[in-house]
Point group: C2
Chain length 232, copies 2
DNA sequence: CGAAAGGTTGAGTGCTGTCAACGTCCGTGG
DNA sequence: CCACGGACGTTGACAGCACTCAACCTTTCG
């Protein structure tokens, strides 16, 4: 039986605000659930019935237009929180990009627990404020950056986030596996799959990155990447 | 002397969570400040030293690329909260779109007060969650919608928000004043000023809207607008 | 009245999307 | 083991939407 005490995201997730006896209670209302790659945990427009902490894996948050154009509005990693507490509907779908594990709560039980645990709400507030900053920052990319800048910015951000998640002391990793397909990259960057592919090829031919296989990226020239990303 | 008790946003802002004696304390750490049109209250990248409630007027939140391209990432109205509590830097500039009034706090004083008033933090959390939903919804527009859809979506959303702010029972108003110039609309929609102007002209010539003067919009055919916006 | 700011319209270009063909990887089943 | 099929990815040709550059109009304000 898995308990919160042994949870791998214990010290990073919002649960880190809780004492041992509080964790006992939370343990009772949550349950660990596996999510398979491609499985959708919540659907855009649905009643908000569930919230969760990501324990392992990567998931995407996405919305679509009426005619099916998709935009990925967030990518979440272990220790991130998903779902819409204190609200009636979920504004975006949540889908696993790889096999994942989440710690699932019914929204009502979570809401009740959170309302009586200010420290937990504070952690959630901090996390939400950070997510809002991140979302707004992404709006600059979607509204104002060229295809080349978008792809470069994405690769740099991915390197940085994976570095934060691992233990490399904050330095961006220079080699990593993409958790996204080309189509998903396109949906995140507001581009088409062909444009993403062409920009990756261009960066590779310019000697700025290497692509040993379809999922692996090696950043060869970090400075040139910053220039490509429009941070200059 | 103005007190919180008489504040026009008293019942809508996050302060609505507070009792009379608590308001007394808040009154002491905040002060009402006028902001002139065009004046920037906070700068992107600055240390986060101030937060505020909007009392009157409309302000924009914006970020820029290194070479000066601007993206508006949010528009705030009376009762909205601005600034970055519990964080070291402000991620976007805040600028008044018309003469405005805000209730200003130093971040440290506000943080301290919030940390000891869970009900206030709860209100702030709800507000932040709503803003996050709104920002993510806007990402769909920036990433996937055409110029025509963006302009139509913007006008519909503006009509809805002004309806929510007034007392029209939730029905969108059919006639309103834009708080934005064409350039600001372009910066919000991720377009150029010329494209915005052309799309407005197109909607007017199609008989879907009227533009009595440069700042006034009349929605003549709400259904056609929904279609133009790409909503089903 | 003149200047500046804001807005509209036109002509032309180019970036990115569309459509299509082909290539690569990988799991499945003969 | 190999053939096959499907998912994923790359590349090319072409078109079109939105951007750029430019001229001109309207409103505002000193």
């Amino acid at each position: 039986m898995t308990s919160c005490q042994q949870c791998v995201v214990r010290n990073r997730a919002i649960c880190s605000s809780l004492s041992a006896p509080e964790l006992e209670v939370l343990n009772k209302i949550g349950r660990r659930v596996p999510v398979h790659r491609g499985q959708t945990l919540m659907w855009e427009g649905d009643d908000s019935l569930l919230v969760a902490n990501v324990i392992d894996g990567v998931l995407k948050l996405s919305t679509s237009t009426a005619d099916g154009r998709e935009q990925i509005v967030g990518v979440v990693y272990p220790s991130d929180f998903i779902g819409r507490p204190f609200g009636s509907t979920t504004q975006h779908s949540v889908t696993a990009l790889c096999d994942a594990q989440v710690c699932l709560f019914t929204r009502s039980a979570f809401d009740d627990f959170a309302r009586t645990h200010p420290e937990l709400e504070h952690k959630l507030l901090q996390r939400t404020l950070t997510e809002l900053d991140r979302a707004r920052h992404w709006m600059l990319l979607l509204g104002r950056k060229s295809a080349g800048e978008r792809v470069a910015t994405f690769l740099l951000e991915m390197a940085q986030r994976l570095a934060d998640a691992s233990c490399s002391g904050g330095d961006a990793v220079e080699r990593f596996e993409l958790p996204l397909t080309r189509q998903q990259m396109a949906d995140l960057l507001g581009l088409t799959i062909e444009t993403v592919s062409r920009q990756l090829t261009r960066l590779r031919q310019a000697g700025i990155i290497d692509l040993p296989d379809r999922r692996t990226v090696v950043i060869l020239d970090h400075e040139a990447m910053e220039a490509e990303a429009g941070n200059g």
